[in-house]
Symmetry: C2
Subunit: 390 residues, 2 copies
Amino acid sequence: MNHIVSERIRQTPPSFIRGILKVAESEDVISFAGGLPNPISFPQEALKKSMNRIITEYGSRVFQYASTAGLLSLREYIAEKYRGQYNLDVCAEDIIITTGSQQALDLIGKVLIDKGDSVLLEEPGYLGAIQAFSQYQPNFCGVALQEDGPDIAQFEEILQNRKVKFAYVVPNFQNPTGITYSEEKRKAVLALVRKYHCILVEDDPYGELSFDGKVRGYISKGELNESILLGSFSKIVTPGMRLGFMIIKNERLRKYINTAKEAADLHSNIFAQYCLYDYVLHNNLQEHIQNIRYLYKEQCESMIKAMEMYFPKNITFTRPQGGMFIWAILPEGQSAKALFEQAILKKVAFVPGDPFYTDGRVANTMRLNYTNASKEIMVEGIRRIGELCK
Amino acid sequence: MNHIVSERIRQTPPSFIRGILKVAESEDVISFAGGLPNPISFPQEALKKSMNRIITEYGSRVFQYASTAGLLSLREYIAEKYRGQYNLDVCAEDIIITTGSQQALDLIGKVLIDKGDSVLLEEPGYLGAIQAFSQYQPNFCGVALQEDGPDIAQFEEILQNRKVKFAYVVPNFQNPTGITYSEEKRKAVLALVRKYHCILVEDDPYGELSFDGKVRGYISKGELNESILLGSFSKIVTPGMRLGFMIIKNERLRKYINTAKEAADLHSNIFAQYCLYDYVLHNNLQEHIQNIRYLYKEQCESMIKAMEMYFPKNITFTRPQGGMFIWAILPEGQSAKALFEQAILKKVAFVPGDPFYTDGRVANTMRLNYTNASKEIMVEGIRRIGELCK
């Protein structure tokens, strides 16, 4: 079969995480490996009401084929939100609804990457993006993440020496590190992409999950015409319905993305789009998000407390201000993958850092998810990992 | 922007049909251009019941992230149906749920086509497949469709002279022509793909919409290991929920497709999958399909009667035994696109044949959809087109 399939897919790594999740899935394993929102954060009853309402209200339209860009009223809602919440000049026609943010990543790769093109991304970077872009065989240029965002000197060096098609960043509560860009770094990144005429792709699935409730602005503010913003409803309403969106001011780029979207799945589930629109219309989404923030802040604090108690001092870790992940760093030279092998025998799982790097290194880092386990379970899991590190 | 986007997307045609649909969309236009199922065929009330039931029964699981291959119980249902209805050796693990059949086409292109690879397809062929495959820059090899299926001599000539990656066929009530392969042609195609070791992709969105209720077997029967079958719920339950599936017996190929699917959208809407599974569990889908067959048979007969009455004799057309489309052929040398321009002024629309060919010809053919208009409206629309052809 290898001689039959495309070069493209032979070079695309299957998701390492999905492999791990299978191991971590069994009931007796405490798993910090996934990236699942806490199920108590899904507004089930309200969504149920919305479903019944839209069938009565719109009838067969919620079951019929629909337009590629997505439901106009939902796009109008998103545009209004971005004008109000982020002070961005966005209208409905700038928006394309996608089948989750993952589809947006695939479309970006498809439309922008020719084989061998340079793509700048954070190191460690988001696994789903690495996987999606890999299919189009780019040359990945990783920029090290520091506590307050990317290494700016390295960022510039890459833009200076390579013809970079686009830079992909997750400025808020990044996956996998939980790191958030400082204001200074945001400004520096903006200056750089402006200077080198580089398209900026800002992915923001976690931005609203800030523990302090503060809204962090977009790097590309006022520069939207040369950038793409990605958003998602997965972490604030439901991931199972697979609804995300892209904001693209540049009309020609948007048309290309639209053509790729059409070829990818014609349009995203229209029932889900109506349902989500009805939900935001009849419910207070901000209040709902506030509840998720409280929940995750508490869970994050519990995990950090447990890590302070049970991890040896030579393991350092990030202290996220939002989002879903903590990033831990083992002493140099240690392998997180080796630790994972031991951990799974002790019935506890996390994601070793390896797949978040594009240079194939043996990583001494690991990602821990805190949104999907109770406090007691969390403490026990961290204790077991700590035991192994002694 | 052209110098920034990928070669791949510059060579992908935006859907001609979606362009036409925008023109045909206005309320005063009689449109035979779309490919929409009749909305009265959507089992709205039953789906509503299913939605309420699955939320009660499965709770947060219907809103959470899910596995890439799709809901196991739905895949088991499909496998059982294929074992029973088509006598095929299929089990749940051979099946991947896709975001509509369109996604399956994209995944096939992504996983199988390297730039310049030869792909055999029907001429005229399904537009969505041409668009999806185009993104991966194949060399299209068209095989002319005759009344009873593909020109077998031409089919063999291509397999003999080219290294064909796969052959893509729609053997039942093809889109755009409505043509169905005869038993002889099916056997001949099977013998050819066997002889030349060519992967066969059989797309079957319309197979169950046969006016005679007869089930037509798959070409690849017993040969599944070297083939891919595509199915869809769009024409028998609802297209808006975007649910299709691929049946792939070859494990290695299936794994590659699964990796591509993961990178494309992680998984298809899981709520929709639960909903559909509950629907087939609690309702008689066969009875429902039988009702759609009656409806479409009547509509097809009405359109043919109108064409016999109002079209001049030098226009020929197919007489489908199922599906959603009639294919009409104008006298040689005439342009269906030119006719379309005149027709739209008379407030009636169809799809000129041009985009269904990969050789860029000026087509004297056109596709007419009969599933989505009332009899009276249909007669009036055909009358107007007939007037223009006199």
